[in-house]
């Protein structure tokens, strides 16, 4: 297991977004929390937000309130859940993942949105005009995708120096930016890449099995909430088939891979 800190893209706060905030009547500020998965208070983004706010001196129920909406894996319900939060007049929306980010961005151009989105590039995905002057109502942290995917391929080559054929698990319900970044990195690394598109959790086993016919040397898992969820299944598959594999998520080595 390799764990390294590296470059993140932090979007500066766009102050003009604040104009939408009604002049506060000293009510308790409300954070709308928009989540793609099933209710799980221990889910890292939700837990760290709560702990982080507590660490900053907020007391839940007294100086801050949270309205949490879970899509329970049905990402198509996120736009309605986001609209719900906007109707409740929350002071800020915290969204996890690309689907929740898009839903929040689509629900309001004024309510400030803080996002943790591992799958998008803030500028290319249209969340910000530029890193320096984002404009709009969105801020948050994004990964440097070209940097990350390049590192993944580098690691694959370190583990399997002869690797020429690499398959890439890609959640096709996320933007193609990660895929594009890894394809560019593969060209540089002289590796032949094939994307395995998955859309539904039920497809993973079959798609992986079919991919083995091409005798891949390694598997790269791009990130998405669904791919994170599938970590145990993918771990079991790669162990059984002795396929070196890399993931962004700790859940993957924890599942034995």
């Amino acid at each position: 297991m390799i764990l390294v800190n590296f470059l993140l893209l932090a979007l500066p706060l766009a102050m003009e977004a604040q104009e939408a905030n009604p002049p506060s009547s000293k009510k308790i500020p409300v954070v709308g929390v928009l989540q793609p998965g099933s209710p799980d208070p221990a889910f890292a983004p939700v837990l760290t937000l709560r702990q982080g706010l507590r660490g900053l001196g907020y007391i839940e129920g007294q100086t801050i309130r949270r309205e949490v909406r879970w899509a329970e894996g049905k990402v198509e319900t996120l736009p309605n859940l986001a609209a719900d939060l906007v109707r409740l007049n929350v002071d800020v929306v915290y969204a996890t993942g690309p689907h929740a980010m898009r839903a929040a961005a689509g629900a309001s151009r004024t309510v400030p949105i803080v996002g943790d989105d591992l799958e998008d590039d803030p500028v290319e995905s249209g969340f910000a005009a530029s890193i320096a002057r984002p404009g709009g109502n969105i801020t948050g942290l994004f990964l440097n995708l070209p940097d990350l995917t390049g590192k993944w391929l580098q690691l694959v080559k370190e583990v399997v120096p002869t690797a020429r054929r690499v398959v890439v698990l890609w959640d096709a319900t996320t933007s193609p930016l990660q895929l594009r970044a890894v394809k560019r990195a593969a060209e540089t690394a002289m590796v032949e890449l094939r994307a395995l598109e998955v859309r539904r959790p039920t497809e993973y086993a079959e798609v992986l099995k079919a991919a083995m016919k091409e005798r891949p040397h390694a598997l790269i898992q791009l990130s998405s909430p669904a791919i994170r969820q599938a970590s145990p299944l993918v771990a079991e598959f790669t162990l059984k088939n002795r396929l070196p594999a890399i993931s962004l998520f700790r859940l993957f080595p924890e599942a034995g891979a």
């Binding site: 104009e19 660490g55 900053l56 803080v114 070196p244």
Partner: protein, 40 residues
């Protein structure tokens, strides 16, 4: 293998973003640039 940033640390920074947004003073302290606020 896994490789990537320390995600819990990554997520932890969001709380400070939320905090900053909640603490931003109300609009009059910024030069007004919105056509909406000047036209009404």
């Amino acid at each position: 293998m896994m490789y990537g940033p320390d995600l819990p640390a990554f997520f932890a920074r969001s709380a400070s973003y939320v905090d900053k947004i909640l603490k931003v003073p109300s609009p009059p302290s910024f030069p007004s640039s919105s056509p909406r606020s000047s036209s009404s």
